[in-house]
């Protein structure tokens, strides 16, 4: 990477007086980066310190136990790990295609005049507080799921073995769908923004070659927006992994491994929010340990997403001001 050193004309120098010299600028950015990292480290250390007693008393295997029953000294996290992964998977499996499709519609298909209204409308969903989603899910969606959606899904997909058992309102499926609705605005809004900024010359060039709209999208726009879409995906997944109050209200809070999408389950955040206020001693440490496990899960999910993008090859459309 070469930097261009040129003599600066007088006028430009005058305007430049108000700008930090390059070192100062880079220094300032570095300071903020360090501050951010310090904050993250502080958080990590605090959680580890609180979780340490559980690990020192119980070792490490307790995480993978299948039962959470503090009064019997059992702190198994497996049902909650599985519940977290499954509910997030449902949410993301729905939000990624639907969110991306909506973003494409908003960026290219919808008439320009109503585009801002629809975009604002989708962003509104981000404003609804978590507890409202929980209440709406419990009061409105749960009966619909129990009486309509689940029977239909069972009759169509029952052969997959994912829909065994009775029709419940609050369930993994409902929690996944509520999470999907909650992360949709993030997926849509950020994807839409990165789709719009793909260089117009590339789009026009492809069209000049006779590509159809879909081909333009698939071959030019989406690859160009790949990193941005990954960013949207990451933020959306993060929100789904960490969502607490809404999930606690619609997932049924069963501390046992869920055998089907229709059964009650629990996630690590719902476990923490339900038990934290009253917990003490080993149970409290175990809850912090659960938080650490969730961090590990988040790390793994992010690594997997990154690897997926990297391995399918991508050009970094960065601003590349200098290395």
């Amino acid at each position: 990477m070469t930097t261009v050193e040129m003599p600066v004309p007088r006028q430009a120098r005058k305007r430049d007086r108000w700008s930090l010299p390059d070192n100062g600028y880079r220094g300032m950015l570095a300071v903020t980066a360090v501050a951010f990292v310090a904050l993250a480290v502080w958080f990590l250390v605090a959680v580890i310190l609180q979780a340490a007693p559980a690990f020192s008393t119980l070792g490490f295997g307790w995480i993978f136990g299948g039962v959470w029953n503090p009064s019997h000294g059992q702190y198994g996290l497996l049902p909650f790990i599985v519940g977290t992964l499954e509910s997030t998977a449902i949410a993301v499996a729905l939000a990624f295609p639907i969110g991306l499709g909506t973003a494409i519609s908003l960026a290219f298909l919808v008439p320009a005049r109503i585009r801002p209204y629809l975009s604002t409308a989708v962003e509104l969903l981000a404003a609804v507080p978590s507890v409202v989603y929980g209440l709406w899910g419990l009061i409105v969606l749960a009966p619909i799921f129990r009486d309509t959606v689940e029977p239909v899904l069972t009759s169509v997909f029952g052969w997959t073995g994912l829909f065994n058992g009775p029709n419940n309102g609050p369930s993994l499926l409902l929690a996944g769908v509520i999470l999907f609705i909650m992360i949709l605005p993030t997926m849509v809004a950020i994807s839409r923004d990165v789709l719009i900024v793909v260089p117009v010359e590339q789009v026009e060039g492809a069209m000049a070659l006779g590509a159809t709209r879909w081909q333009v999208l698939r071959k030019v726009v989406l690859p160009g927006a790949r990193t941005g879409i990954l960013g949207a995906f990451t933020l959306a997944t993060g929100r789904a992994l960490g969502e607490t109050v809404a999930v606690a209200m619609v997932i049924g809070n069963s501390p046992y491994l869920a055998h089907s999408l229709k059964s009650s389950a629990a996630t690590i955040p719902s476990l923490i929010v339900n038990n934290f206020p009253e917990s003490t001693g080993t149970e409290l440490s175990a809850l912090f340990g659960a938080g650490l496990v969730l961090l590990v899960i988040g790390t793994l999910v992010n690594s997997a997403a990154r690897w997926l993008v990297w391995s399918t090859g991508q050009e970094n459309a960065g601003i590349g001001v200098g290395r």
Partner: protein
Amino acid sequence: MTAVLDVPVDPNVERRLAVQAAASSSLRRRKMGSVVAMGVCWLFLAIAIVPLVAVVVYVTSKGLSAWTTDFFTKSTTPEGVAGGGVWNAIVGTVVITTIATAVAVPLGLLCGLFLAESDGRAAQALRFTADVMTGIPSITVGIFGYIAIVRNFGYSGLAGSFAVGFIMLPVIIRAGETAFRGVPRSLNEAAMALGARRATIARRVVVPTALPGVITGVLLAIARGLGETAPLLLTIFGNQYLQWNPTKPMAALPTLIYSYSGQPYADLVQVAWGAALLLMAVVLVLSIGSRLLAAYLRKERR
């Protein structure tokens, strides 16, 4: 747009016709594929609108009747006392979110710039950290705020701002970086060719060009910050009375909603829905305002 094939003149007309036929059938296939794909996108848009309409209608139907003058101007009163409102919670939410935004946005955008400019090991580690941080449960952030701030300094609005800011920060960083990376390389290189310093380039080229994306990211973060309940539950304590001082316990709309919606008394539940509707209205206003702002800025530059 039809494809024009540049076929050299061939005395064998049949062959030319065959190639043209193949081209147009390929075109037909590609066009159909495109129509199907676009149809799917429209379908997905329709699917996305359904829960939106459902939730907005539900919250509006339950909350609108709570919107009286008293609702906006008076502080909370207990069950059985008429004429109460959520003014103290509005004040609390505004103060807490403003402080959180004032700290998280500059810090987050600068980190986003840092990440957008470099791809070194440090930047990759930072990006990864920010990504993982978006996945931290809001309750854990609240607990961290309790351990870090409340245990040492007591319940306060500032502790709430700390926790909310902690949640907003990675969102702003990632959304900001995404927006900054969307600025075409050519613009930056042109600026460098003119001899501009990095800071100047950032200030005059990158940020203005990325502004729409930045505004979206900041708006999403603020919307999230306005509605987050769990971090506030453990840090601000709540206040039945009006409190402007962020170093004291304060009320806030999300915690009020959480608390009142759990009450058996219908009028308190209604206040909760009114407050939820208010949060949505605030984000609506912010969203419209930010679009107007972005459009105005774009016109200014042209």
